[in-house]
């Protein structure tokens, strides 16, 4: 009888991929929500390539304990909104992906989807918290190119700075039914010597729904 015990781990190994598979990896939805991790200070491999100005601003913010714009209920910005600990949903339409966020002022991003070759942004966009996004599919990964930011958000809770020249390229990859990998390439020559990348993994929470988090509620009377 004991000789058959090996069958159990063999069966588990055999079944595991089946549990984790989704039929279409371009489907970022389902009956549930994605739970985002909290990463107050991302530590990219090789460190953050500050230039002198970037390092100075960052250290000033830490020394003076400058107020995080998010504490004033302003939008988190991109990519920071993807590593604040709230849940998100991806709503996929034929030519558009809408990301709706539970927290970060209950905000949304509406991303037109085209081809990589068709990538375009407004010539002189009005600077915004969430920037101007354009997306396309690269294999099973959703790529989103974002420019047109204002300089009023922080890249993370530790105060890493960015300016209006910030350029972010996001990559969303659904690894399986329960994991979504996210990387964001951050390029801002005003504060960094070269592009750097932050990474996070979101976890699927089936049968959950987004709550209504209204940050302003705590700061209003």
């Amino acid at each position: 009888m004991g000789g058959k015990l090996w069958l159990i781990p063999a069966a588990v190994v055999f079944l595991l991929p089946a549990i984790g598979q989704v039929t279409d990896k371009r489907d970022l939805g389902g009956p549930g929500v994605w739970s985002l991790p909290s990463i107050p200070e991302p530590s990219p491999a090789g460190g953050v390539p500050f230039n002198p100005k970037g390092k100075q601003v960052w250290e000033e913010r830490r020394l003076t304990k400058a107020a995080d714009p998010e504490k004033q209920c302003l939008p988190s910005g991109v990519p920071r909104i993807m590593y604040e600990p709230y849940s998100v949903e991806f709503l996929q339409l034929p030519n558009r992906v809408v990301i709706v966020y539970e927290g970060g002022t209950h905000i949304f991003r509406s991303i037109p989807i085209g081809t990589k070759a068709g990538l375009k942004h407004p010539v002189d966009p009005n600077p915004t918290y969430m920037g101007d996004s354009y997306g396309w599919w690269d294999g099973d990964s959703l790529m989103v190119d974002v420019v047109g930011f204002n300089d009023r958000t922080w890249l993370d809770a530790s105060g890493r700075p960015h300016g209006e020249k910030l350029h972010v390229v996001e990559k969303f990859t659904r690894l399986n039914s329960s994991k979504l990998e996210y990387t964001a390439m951050i390029d801002d020559p005003e504060y960094y010597t070269k592009p750097w990348t932050v990474t996070m993994t979101a976890t699927y929470r089936p049968n959950d729904r987004l709550k209504e988090v209204i940050c302003q509620e705590q700061t209003a009377k």
Binding site: V100, T105, P122, Q216, T219, A220
Partner: protein, 222 residues
């Protein structure tokens, strides 16, 4: 996108079930006193929308920032340029309204919808009591139930009949008729990119309220 009108006082658009216009909505006495306090004595200074809180339902349709509607098989998604730049989901997968006691009270409530012919009927409950029905301060409580009937009367217009049912504040349901108008690929100072709504963040510029407000309080942005 759709352009949304600015309606300060819903009384102008309110009528009863027979279509007769109201001078006042069917207030209960305490509701009338509360409205008079907010509108006539305090001059609307305590409007929650002034503190960048979400306008609520149906006031999202009276707050003058453009909106878009995305239609999906199982839900509608409204996204709003202003009014706190929030989104509102309306379920269309056949589910019923929850028992309001079973959901966490929220600014935008819980919404389900179905089609009656060409009219979209959105029913909502599960609200908190922290919004005003309009800028003039018509009150509601957590028992509020709203029915919004949306009819696209022609390409450029959607008629919206919003019925407000809140037995805590009103003796019977009352209905306001408003509308939204289509803005095709508009370009101009407020919508620079054709057909796309912009990002308006109320919290960014919420600086003056403390000066016009008689009661000191902590403001969101210094």
């Amino acid at each position: 996108m759709w352009n949304v009108p600015y309606i300060v006082n819903l009384q102008v658009n309110a009528h009863d079930e027979k279509g007769c216009q109201y001078i006042y909505p069917p207030f209960k006495p305490a509701a009338k006193a509360l409205w008079e306090q907010r509108e006539l004595k305090d001059l609307e200074k305590d409007d929650p929308e002034g503190f960048c809180l979400p306008p609520g339902v149906p006031r999202m349709f009276f707050t003058p920032y453009p909106l878009q509607v995305y239609q999906m098989p199982d839900r509608l998604l409204f996204v709003y340029e202003g009014g706190a730049h929030v989104w509102r989901v309306v379920w269309m997968d056949g589910r019923k309204l929850p028992n309001p006691d079973d959901v966490n009270p929220t600014y935008l409530g819980y919404s389900v919808a179905h089609w009656e012919g060409d009219t979209l009927v959105i029913e909502s409950n599960g609200f908190n009591d922290r919004t005003w029905l309009d800028a003039s301060g018509h009150p509601h409580g957590e028992q509020l139930k709203v029915t919004e009937r949306l009819t696209r009367t022609d390409f450029n217009n959607v008629k919206i009949e919003s019925t407000i049912d809140d037995p805590e504040f009103y003796t019977k349901p009352w209905t306001v008729v408003t509308g939204i108008t289509w803005a095709p690929n508009r370009t101009g100072p407020f919508t620079m990119r054709g057909g796309e709504i912009l990002e308006y963040i109320c919290q960014e510029n919420n600086r003056d309220l403390i000066h016009i407000n008689a009661v000191p309080h902590t403001n969101t942005v210094r």
